[in-house]
Amino acid sequence: MNEKSKFLKNREKLSRHHTKSFSKLSRDRKDLAAHKAMRALAICVSILVPVFILVLFLRARPILATHNISTLLFSTTWRPNQGSFGFFPFIMGTLWVTMVAMIISVPLSLLTAIYLAEYTRPKVRAFIMPLIDLLAGIPSVVYGIWGVLTVVPFIQKVVMPSADRWLGFSPLFQTSNPTGYGVLAGGIVLAVMVFPIIIAVSEEVIRTVPLGLREASWSVGASRWQTIRRIVLRRAFPGVIAAVMLGFSRAFGETMAVLMVVGNVVQIPHSIFDAAYPLTALIANNYGEMMSIPLYDAALLGAALILLLVVLTFNIGSRLVLARISYS
């Protein structure tokens, strides 16, 4: 990188010299102006996220000023008409759905990623990876439609009866909500939505583990699987965690697909079949309406702020890990 920028600097000097010697000063000036404009543009774009945070913070300030933060976060009462804005049910809704999604998605994605990176031939991989990319390109309302048409009936007709028969003793599987719309439906839809993220990132991370390391392990007689488990995955561990964090932040912030299948009942879910009301659904369903209720829209933007900060934390964390990996 250093070499490159040094080279480019030299180039620049040379080309300046060149243009000057032909006394084309106007072109030179135009070049410089363009350079400055491009830099300004890039820097503007790069401060967008801090600006987002600032805007949300400013607009949420009325509610932060009148309500204790811990009340906002941990109160379970959500009665905007009476001025009670407890986000806890929504936060729990988001966490439940996201956790269920990750529990389903992480093992399946990682196994697929390991398979693609370690066991398939390049030709097969070149066939499968684009298909997984297609999964990433499907719009979230289509996932939502799929959830409504396939996942919800499946849960209602197949999963709930059998869970009732085999796992009914655990409160995790008991519910008074017979519709199928709920945490599990949201979790399954989200799980499929984050497949491509976790798979693509962790597959790439696993493949960046140097071949020499694998060969070193094979050369003392370790099998392929032993090498993967003890060496490759250990080496790829930070990157795999980063991949999972990326998936988590995607699931955490997903709106439309979840909204269509979680049931949207303001309550703290206690079972995977209970309906939930995630933060994103709260914003999507209510923002822009009922603006007459005092503080209501400040509360919703506060919810957006919480969402953004959580997603940001996970995103930055994983990006920093991935950047470190690609430099080492």
Binding site: D31, Y115, V141
Partner: protein, 283 residues
């Protein structure tokens, strides 16, 4: 010992194959479901008419408003995004940007990429209220263009990074300035890659619902003005599914089918356009 190891390896290999089948199967299942439920509901009227009176009760009409609206939204946003992204991508790739600045810009773009679209929507709407704007095509275009920006910059950077050094050098040595080299030589050289990036971003823009929910609004009319609300396909799917009438819900499936054909068509076209495009997530 040996047998235990072999068993362990076979066990995990089977799990891996099952997982892979599961992942690919979910893709098939999604496409299959939408096709199976959407195709019967799809007819020519749906594609060529705007909703008539009583459309939401299952009477005649179509989703032309949403199709055209989505094309206008995503098309406009893509144009804005190209205007913003191309200079940024060329700047990052061809100019002597200090190391720290470059990393900072890339990290910011990555984070922008990860920002939930509902947050874009909420912020966009807040700013629009502040500026006294109504939900409109323009508002939707602006928010969507920010959503598309990081994807486009990433794709364009990738394309530009494949330009051979020698080409740049020969351009410089012929006396072309960096600016001329970037916008004439490099852009022409990398056109397929740039178009790939543009199509990908367009695909993401056309499929996004949460960001246009507040900013573009919804209407039964065809798009006419930048300052009027505009319909979009994802929201057409969403709203029609929300009605209690099965006939209208069927149309939601048909709309979803139209949407997915558009998006996958774009994705496949862009892939065919540049066979050398590799999605490099780590940087």
């Amino acid at each position: 010992m040996l047998i235990k190891q072999k068993l362990e390896e076979s066990f995990f290999k089977i799990l891996m194959v099952i997982s892979t089948i599961f992942v690919l199967g979910s893709l098939l299942l999604i496409l299959g479901t939408v096709l199976w439920r959407g195709l019967p509901a799809l007819d020519l009227a749906m594609l060529t008419q705007a909703p008539q009176g009583g459309y939401y009760l299952g009477k005649e009409g179509g989703i032309l408003n949403a199709i055209l609206g989505s094309l206008c939204l995503a098309g406009g946003a893509t144009i804005v995004a190209v205007i913003l992204s191309l200079p940024i991508a060329l700047y990052l790739q061809l100019y002597p940007v200090p190391h720290f600045t470059k990393n900072w810009i890339r990290l910011s773009l990555d984070i922008l990429w990860g920002t939930p679209s509902i947050v874009y929507g909420a912020i966009g709407f807040t700013l629009m209220i502040y500026l006294g704007m109504r939900a409109s095509l323009l508002g939707g275009i602006i928010v969507l263009s920010l959503l598309e920006l990081p994807i486009m910059v990433r794709g364009m950077e990738e394309a530009v990074s494949m330009v051979p050094k020698a080409l740049l050098e020969s351009s410089y040595s012929l006396g072309a300035t960096r600016f001329e080299t970037a916008f004439k030589v490099v852009v022409r050289q990398t056109l397929p890659g740039l178009i790939t990036a543009i199509l990908l971003a367009f695909g993401r823009g056309i499929g996004d619902a949460a960001s246009v929910l507040f900013t573009a609004g919804y209407t039964d009319n065809l798009p006419t003005s930048l300052l009027r609300p505009v319909a979009s396909l994802p929201l057409a799917v969403f709203f029609q599914l929300g009605t209690p009438f099965p006939a209208v819900q069927d149309r939601a499936y048909a709309a979803a089918l139209v949407l997915i054909v558009l998006v996958l068509g774009l994705s496949i076209t862009s892939r065919l356009l540049s066979t050398r495009f590799t999605k490099n997530i780590i940087r």
